[in-house]
Symmetry: C2
Subunit: 432 residues, 2 copies
């Protein structure tokens, strides 16, 4: 983005004016949303859902325009599929929004309670973050999902979707805002960026005065571009290079289930595994068995020299680049490690600190691994595929944060809040 | 900083090399520190305290060099005082370090516990952040304070103090590191930046790969410079424009105590008040009384037109700039507001979202204020001066965060941690 060609001054002026408008309207809307009651916020989401249902024909027509253009521009079929709101998809988006309205209120939760000096009572209370920006790619459902989650947690939002979905996003945001307005709520609590010029993003993300947090959702290039230019704190939803370590004391039938689930159930997601680590003490037994099961599931293996000794002839040799690659495909890199220490070191070095699992019947070794592997989610005898807001019981998720701070791992309504200290006294002053 | 004159290439190469060295050593040290046990970390801090005590003569000699230079360069007396480790001060620094060693371990605290899909048990567990950078000004005690707090929470740190304190900081860091090494711990868990060239800061804070968080401690210019250049997440410890609102139903004797404590007990700190809001219903009674007490304490008042009507003749008229000014002095801006709504709006608009207090006997009004004032710490019938890690019972503090995310308000050991999810199963896989 920073390498984009110089824009003509008139274009930049227009973009700056649009950013100014969005920012000017967002903060006052956020201040209103922040003090809505739980019931108010539920009513707002239900009104938006009703308006989306009423606008379904217009939304489908807008979506058709995007689909026609996508086909004309010969976008990849997977991309076209992500754009598509046809069939039952729009109904599902609306049903998900209604479900978010019914989730427990995260705002006002008392996170801690204690007595400070002189007997003043303090509560640490969850409160909205303020203005959330979300930069995403082609899926138009994100417009409704993120707007719903932000409002449920008392935040206003500024949404910037991909240009491929502009007609769909406009129709969705317009219906959502009409729903809010019809129920007497400020429509500007949900704003869609109307310009698709990528030069807008650095202008928007320079506005730390008006935006409290930005969530990029999409591929590595998008995330890199946002991190590069943003003055606003970024919650990244970056790649997952996840792993399973089959320890010497593993139940091998369990290991087979967990490895297969991690790699083959849905290889295109961030909590799928890319690396398999096998303890040298069981490599001769475990690897042939795992290889047979993985190959039957269509998985291509790449092994280091020690692994190749126990893998079918013709298996490719893994290179250093394989250990850090997020394949998002039916490919698995395999290494043989000396022991749990080597497994921990390998995982912390090559993994992306997302989700990693050990399979072992040795509780002491498991606790070492759980303690020392520095990942958002660490598992013992369970699949890494559980790293997901839905599976975690969060009801809905904005994504899986790969940040270390504020939100780490599945990010739901609780992570769309910050906190403040509410302190109640009866006249106390500080003495020293 | 970004406006600094172009440096000669050799200087930049040297600075880059120094940053590379610091960053290369920090991450492996952090990995070691992160898995130290509670007892290990306590032993490390005690060893450092012993080494500091043993090196006291060398530290005092180094401090004398800094003090001599400060006097020769005619630094302001307050600045010279901040530099000074004489008298009992070094002993206090060492005693504080020993006290941090005795604080409860923040690492491993179970923040939440729940069952995820298929009956897998999940714990949200506090873990170290990793590598903490701290950029500070002239107080050399910060070197020991921050190193102690970081290590207690399982983090490594990179410390960059002001050039005025370089000799003192070198002596302190060197003794601290010698203490760690003598007890068999990696000295590189505490690193001091040896170059005082300000151009180093952007080079250091570009290293998001090696540094997880940066804490600037100092004046507004330092904080702005850090925020401007940092790719690393910043926890700001920025200015406090705090206020007290005396509501119509206030106990005026209590209001007088809380206002005086907020303004006059220690005016140079961030939790002192800069604005006084008085409900118009009681302005005629409350303002003359408060003015008398404040003037007796040497406080200069500046009022808006409505306030001047009830303040002594000759009181200065407040301008718009007064409402956002952090005086750090015995000056107080006074406004008369229509009601609690106006007080909330004024506070959210002009305050710095740090600490604000309402004085009232009306519980319903108090709850409105506590809910709607968007500050890190909101008080009912208590002084804003309680916003402090020590007063909050955190034992020690890194400072008062003015960030909205990760750490808000007093920042102690708990806020020097992040979290991970530790999930224990017995073979569960995801089904859909």
């Amino acid at each position: 983005m920073s390498a984009a060609p110089a824009h003509d001054a008139a274009v930049l002026t227009n973009l700056t004016r649009h950013v100014d408008d969005l920012c000017r309207l967002a903060r006052p809307a956020a201040a209103v949303v922040a003090v809505w009651s739980d019931a108010d916020r539920q009513r707002a989401l239900r009104a938006a859902a009703d308006a989306l249902a009423a606008a379904a024909p217009a939304i489908r027509a807008a979506n058709d325009l995007d689909l026609q253009r996508a086909k004309r521009d010969r976008l990849a079929p997977a991309m076209v599929d992500r754009l598509d709101l046809g069939g039952a998809r729009l109904d599902e988006v609306i049903a998900d929004l209604r479900a978010v309205a019914e989730l427990p209120d995260p705002v006002g939760n008392v996170l801690a309670e204690f007595t400070i000096a002189e007997g003043v009572r303090a509560q640490k209370v969850a409160v909205p973050i303020g203005v959330v920006a979300c930069i995403f790619e082609s899926r138009p459902n994100v417009t409704v999902d993120v707007a719903g989650l932000c409002l449920r947690a008392g935040n206003a939002c500024i949404l910037r979707g991909g240009k491929e979905a502009l007609h769909s996003n406009r129709a969705l945001a317009s219906a959502f805002r009409a729903g809010l307005a019809s129920a007497g709520f400020p429509a500007d609590a949900v704003q869609l960026v109307q310009e698709t010029d990528r030069e807008l993003i650095p202008l928007l993300l320079a506005r730390e005065d008006a935006i409290d947090i930005v969530i990029p959702r999409g591929g590595a290039a998008l995330i890199r571009a946002v991190v590069e230019c943003s003055k606003v704190p970024v919650i990244k939803h970056d790649k997952g290079v996840c792993s399973v370590f089959v320890h010497a004391a593993a139940d091998l039938a369990m290991a087979e289930r967990i490895v297969l689930n991690g790699k083959a159930q849905r290889p295109g997601v961030c909590n799928a595994i890319e690396n398999l680590l096998v303890d040298q003490a069981v490599a001769a037994v475990a690897l042939p068995r795992l290889a047979t099961a993985l190959r039957a599931a269509g998985v291509e293996l790449r092994g280091d020299a020690a692994a190749l000794a126990h893998l079918p002839a013709g298996t490719a040799l893994a290179t250093e680049a394989d250990w850090t690659e997020e394949y998002l495909a039916l490919i698995l890199a395999v290494t043989v490690v000396a022991d749990v220490d080597a497994a921990i070191a390998f995982t912390n070095r090559y993994g992306s600190h997302h989700s990693d699992s050990i399979v072992t019947q040795d509780a002491e070794v498991a606790e070492r691994y759980l303690r020392e592997v520095d990942s958002a989610c660490v598992y013992h005898n369970a699949s890494t595929r559980f790293t997901d807001g839905g599976q975690f019981g969060f009801g809905a998720e904005v994504g899986i944060s790969t940040n270390r701070l504020h939100a780490r791992g599945p990010m739901g309504l609780a992570e769309l809040c910050t906190y403040k200290y509410v302190c109640r006294g009866d006249g106390q002053i500080r003495r020293s």
